[in-house]
């Protein structure tokens, strides 16, 4: 029997990984507590088991291993601190992987705590030093700048009293400078003549408001002098360099002094005393300068010491971070596990691919052995209520195509995977819209660059746009190759036709070639062997010819693509054992689509082969309006009229065939099953409940709502019937975009490049060339390829996948160390 043979043939086809998702199995592990950690980390290295959270009702801090998770979080915080410090110090965390002895978590914890303590101490020391250094530096600057004001102010002030303040030095931990200041303070004679001054330094950005505030507070009874500090001073908190301004305020009265000091404090202005006596001034300046040099040396030594410590940390940093990340992941997974009744074993449940069972067992065995456990780990399969996850084994080449499909929806478990076909059809549909072998070569070069630098780029962190390009490099490769192919067919190279495959089949009527563009050319030899004849370019009927060709081509590919989709729905139905779907969905759908648009495709091919001049629009329209009329000159082959009538009748029959039988048969099946089972429940209800409580519960919930099923079927049928018209029309975008592409490139070539070349001026030619190059790169290569990409995407997601693809599965996310990224901290 032929169908039987066919089925056998299909069943015996060699399995292909991508056709359907991997067979999954639900497993339960019972792990003795002592080997649990090791087992989980080995499983993480293997990365083929998706754990199910058995403690979903518990909040994170109520779980068993919460303390370990907290410790890991604390360690990763320390590591982040180190990383931050290393980056701030401008050291590179070395990428060389030193071969170090494996360090365990407890040791690492101690280690990290020590390092952190050391670093914090060094930082606080250097901060203190930096602060005193800054203060001395500011003092020096104030001394230099303020003395200028003081000397000039001598003319006006009869005698100035030097107001020395140690306000800026209220922090007593810094004894050195304080003593220096005190010594300055004491011998100052109190001069009562009235005019005093305060000198200090303030952030440049605050100076204006500071002056205004002083003016208001003293009611204008003050004199404010300022000068830029000239040197930038480091802010100890943000370690940024800040510009500051030196100021000297002259005022009179004790009250004003208090106010001014308070304002200084409020604005964060540091006040420094400046002696008026020139000799004193010189002495202090010398002292300050010498201290500064001392401090600078100390600071440098401190920084060197710190950098050394940081370098030693940086060498290990990557390894430590990796270790902590893994440990945290292991404990997070352990937290998903349950204790069994005896509290001695941990119970894990999860999904794993069927083929990985042997590997898993081997790994678990190794874990038992390595942790010297007396009891082995029990590993067995279980029944699961929920649907298994979808897992495709992809490689670098197939992955982006799978991503394209997954972006629409992850395949239902074991459903036919459209990615297999997408791998070829997607780039080809793109190329039909992007057919230009010049542009194709540009794309190819780009893709080749990405592929050649694959090893280097894959380790780097790329920007989001580059990452997208890099991820899709094999898609771009195929797209460009097919673009070159389609470009050769369309005979377009930056919109210029070439005589690659021999001379044109057409020639002028006479030697002068005067009427070439009015009456046309004559054909004098065999057709051009491959693609479009270059003579069509620029001819009067160029557009009419190309449009007709591309439009027909689009319909042919569209109908073929949709048929493939429907055929896949057959394989889906066969796989899931639903003969109902085959008989009442697949068959009428095939008949409906092919009796209308399959017939159109046939007409197109017959017309191409026979060279007939029949009007296909007319044929198709009158096939519906008056099927019984004579076709006349539009007849393409013998028996066309009866065939059309048969096809039309078939299409009409297909509609109710699609719509009615399925819901009624479903209803019948349901009532039969329900009756049959009601007896069963009466007889052995207790037994039933005891044996399979889960499955029993499931059956009771299954209710059959006829109207819902019928409406659903109606929607589905209407969608298909209307869809087969609108989807076929939708494939015309292949023609439209390819037309747009070729017209745009023609415009840029003729109206920019050729126009500019017409001038005998180098500048104009260069400008024309530049404009052409930019337009080609940005508009044709980037924007056009993007739009062609999007349209190809739509044709796949909507026109192709709606014929068979459910896409309501969920992805297999195994617990794997390899998938831990730096963001997981």
């Amino acid at each position: 029997m032929f169908p039987g043979k066919m089925e056998q043939f299909i069943d015996n086809l060699p399995p292909m990984d991508l056709m359907r998702s991997e067979k999954m199995t639900f497993v339960q592990l019972i792990i003795p507590a002592e080997s649990a950690h090791r087992a989980i980390s080995y499983l993480g290295e293997l990365g083929l088991l998706q754990f199910r959270d058995l403690n979903a009702d518990k909040s994170p801090f109520q779980r068993t291993f919460v303390n370990q998770v907290k410790r890991c979080a604390e360690m990763s915080r320390k590591l982040r601190f180190f990383k931050d410090q290393v980056n701030k110090a401008g050291l590179m965390s070395s990428s060389r992987t030193l071969l170090q002895p494996d360090i365990d978590l407890e040791d690492l914890e101690v280690h990290l705590a020590e390092h952190e303590h050391e670093l914090i101490e060094m930082n606080s020391n250097s901060d203190k030093l930096r602060q005193s250094y800054n203060e001395l530096l500011e003092f020096k600057i104030v001394l230099q700048k303020a003395s200028g004001f003081l000397i000039s102010s001598h003319g006006r002030a009869v005698s100035g009293e030097i107001e020395l303040q140690d306000n800026g030095y209220s922090n007593d931990d810094y004894g050195d400078t304080a003593s220096l200041l005190e010594q300055e303070m004491r011998p100052q004679p109190s001069n009562t003549s009235g005019l005093r001054f305060i000198s200090g330094i303030i952030c440049k950005s605050k100076a204006l408001r500071f002056e205004r505030m002083l003016f208001r507070a003293t009611r204008g009874n003050m004199f404010f002098n300022q000068a830029p500090a000239g040197e930038q001073i480091m802010d100890p908190v943000s370690t940024e360099m800040i510009e500051k301004t030196v100021f000297v305020v002259f005022f009179s009265g004790e009250q004003a002094r208090t106010k001014i000091l308070k304002i200084c404090e409020a604005f964060g202005a540091n006040c420094y005393p400046v002696p008026e006596d020139i000799s004193k001034h010189g002495q202090i300046t010398r002292e300050v300068t010498s201290r500064l040099t001392d401090l600078e040396a100390t600071l440098d030594a401190g920084i060197r010491h710190r950098n050394k410590a940081l370098t030693s940390i940086a060498d290990h940093l990557a390894k430590w971070m990796d270790l902590v990340r893994r440990e945290k992941a292991v404990y997070d997974t352990l937290n998903m596990l349950n204790f069994d009744v005896t509290k001695k074993c941990l119970v894990a449940e999860g999904w794993c691919p069927m083929i990985a069972k042997a590997q898993m067992q081997e790994v678990l065995h190794r874990a038992t052995f390595d942790s010297n456990s007396q009891v082995g780990i029990i590993f067995h399969q279980m029944d699961a209520v929920e649907a298994p996850p979808t897992y495709f084994k992809t490689n670098t080449f197939t992955n982006p195509y799978q991503e394209i499909v997954d972006a629409y929806g992850v395949a239902r478990y074991q459903e036919a995977n459209p990615a297999v076909y997408t791998t070829v059809i997607f780039p080809f549909l793109f190329a039909m819209m992007f057919g230009d072998w010049g542009h194709g070569i540009c794309l190819l070069l780009g893709a080749l660059v990405l592929i050649a630098r694959e090893n280097k780029l894959s380790t780097q962190k790329l920007g989001s746009f580059m990452e997208m390009l890099f991820g899709g490099r094999y898609v771009i490769l195929l797209m460009s190759l097919f673009s070159i192919y389609c470009g050769l067919i369309y005979n377009e190279f930056f919109s210029v036709p070439f005589h690659i495959f021999g001379p044109s089949a057409f020639r002028c009527r006479d030697t002068s070639c005067r009427d070439a563009y009015t009456t046309g050319l004559v054909k004098y030899r065999d057709p051009y062997p491959f693609g479009v004849d270059p003579s069509w370019r620029g001819s009067r009927s160029e557009l009419a010819f190309l449009n007709s060709m591309k439009m027909k081509m689009s319909i042919l590919f569209g109908v073929a693509h949709m048929n493939l989709g429907i055929i896949l729905s057959y394989f889906n139905a066969r796989f899931f054992g639903s003969s109902l779907d085959i008989r009442y969905q697949f068959v009428p759908q095939m008949i409906f689509l092919n009796s209308l648009f399959g017939y159109l495709s046939l007409l197109i091919i017959v017309k191409w082969c026979s060279g007939s001049q029949a009007d296909l629009y007319h044929v198709m329209i009158y096939m519906f309006l008056s099927p019984t009329d004579e076709l006349g000159e539009n007849q393409l082959f013998w028996g066309q009229r009866p065939l059309q009538i048969v096809l039309l009748l078939l299409a009409l029959i297909a509609v109710p065939w699609m719509l009615f039988p399925k819901p009624f048969i479903l209803k019948k099946l349901h009532t039969e099953r329900f009756q049959g089972r009601s007896y069963g429940i009466l007889n052995s209800s207790e037994l039933d409940l005891e044996v399979e409580p889960d499955s029993a519960r499931e059956h009771h919930h299954e209710e059959f709502n006829f109207s819902e099923v019928f409406v659903h079927q109606m929607i589905h049928s209407i969608e298909f019937i209307l869809g087969s018209v609108s989807n076929t029309a939708s494939y015309l975008r292949l023609w439209a975009l390819s037309l747009a592409h070729s017209e745009l490139s023609t415009v840029f070539y003729e109206k920019v490049l050729l126009l500019a070349w017409g001038y005998d001026n180098l500048v104009i030619r260069l400008v024309g060339l530049t404009v052409f190059a930019f337009a080609t790169a940005f508009i044709l290569l980037m924007m056009e390829s993007l739009s062609a990409f999007l349209h190809a995407l739509r044709l796949h997601w909507v026109e192709f996948q709606n014929k068979f693809y459910h896409g309501d599965g969920y992805k297999f996310k195994p617990f794997s160390f390899a998938s831990l990224t730096e963001d997981d901290d």
């Binding site: 909040s59 994170p60 801090f61 979080a73 604390e74 982040r80 308070k262 304002i263 404090e265």
Partner: protein, 331 residues
């Protein structure tokens, strides 16, 4: 313009409204609070919060945590949200957003003036100020000796200046005067904000006037209960909480609040008011195309931070039985 704001609202306000609604969905839910209430230590709280929007703000804190750190970091998140929105806002939304901070400004001014009166260190006081109510010369507040100086030196540069007109007296600053000043400023501020919202019109005016009126009433009741001789006319003559209750029960919205309280009890009044306030703020999100969502979000977030502070304090001081006393669930 009522009814037409939908036509043009999204030109300037659409993006920010989307942002603020996104922020709103990041607010802690009842489930979160239930989990938080079960925490044993502050580390547990940190761990739980790490899964929320506060995560990035707390993850780099070294382990022995303090309540202040948690509150500070959570406030930082609010401030970052606010600053982001303010950066993106155009007129009149930016002015509206600025109005929201004036309340904090008044509180900060009062905090610093009171602090300096009691001779606290200015830096220490500055750390306690709410970061949303900071302005440039806030530290200079310490210089002022009386109201007039306070105005002339510092506040004249701030947006609070117009509210100060009633307070300019040469009276010395003491606790009493400062408290009066706070409430006068607040009154002027709420009135001004109200007028501004009325000017904006549409749903903003409608919802904001309700929210602001409630705020004003709440303050009036609190002032009366804390026996300051200010408030609405009838409230002004009240002498104890039961008289306040008698007055307030005439107004339906407040009847329900007071119905929850037993006679003579004033402790729970704050919580009852907060609950009512939260309810009203949540309702503000039910309408689209108005600015009140920004106000409501800021207030809800502040309430959430208050809740977190209370929970953290209870956990830190081992008073877990009292956790539910002051936590106001938002959703």
């Amino acid at each position: 313009m009522y009814g037409f704001e939908a036509l043009s609202f999204n030109i300037h306000g659409g993006y920010l409204e989307a942002i603020v609604r996104g922020h709103r969905s990041g607010l802690l839910t009842t489930a979160d609070y239930n989990n938080l209430c079960q925490c044993e230590t502050l580390d547990d709280i940190k761990m739980h919060l790490s899964a929320t929007e506060y995560g990035p703000y707390l993850q780099n804190e070294p382990s022995p945590l303090h309540t202040t750190t948690i509150v500070e970091k959570c406030t930082l998140k609010l401030v970052d949200d606010y600053k982001h929105m303010l950066c993106q806002a155009t007129e009149p939304l930016s002015t509206f957003l600025e109005y929201i901070t004036y309340g904090h400004m008044i509180d900060n001014v009062v905090l610093i003036v009171t602090g300096t009166l009691h001779e606290r260190d200015v830096q220490e006081l500055l750390e306690k100020c709410h970061p949303l109510g900071m302005f440039d010369s806030i530290a200079t507040l310490a210089v002022a000796q009386n109201m007039r100086e306070l105005y002339r030196l510092v506040l004249v540069d701030t947006p609070l200046a117009p509210y100060f007109s009633e307070c300019i007296t040469s009276e010395d600053l003491d606790d009493m005067n400062i408290e009066i000043m706070r409430n006068t400023l607040y009154k002027a501020y709420l009135e001004d904000f109200y007028r501004f919202c009325q000017k904006l019109g549409g749903a903003t005016a409608e919802i904001m006037s309700d929210l602001l009126a409630f705020e004003a009433d709440r303050r009036a009741v609190n002032i009366t209960i804390n026996s300051y001789p200010y408030g609405h006319e009838e409230l002004a003559v009240c002498e104890d909480i039961d008289q306040v209750r008698a007055v307030m029960e005439k107004y339906p919205p407040y009847q329900s609040i007071f119905a929850k309280l037993s006679y003579g009890e004033s402790q729970m009044l704050d919580k009852a008011f907060y609950e009512e306030e939260v309810k009203r703020h949540c309702l503000a999100f039910e309408q689209q195309f108005h600015y009140a969502v920004f106000f409501a979000y800021m207030r809800l977030r502040e309430q959430e931070i208050r809740n977190l502070m209370w929970i953290s304090e209870c956990v830190a001081q081992n008073q877990k039985s009292r956790v539910h006393d002051s936590v106001v669930f938002i959703f």
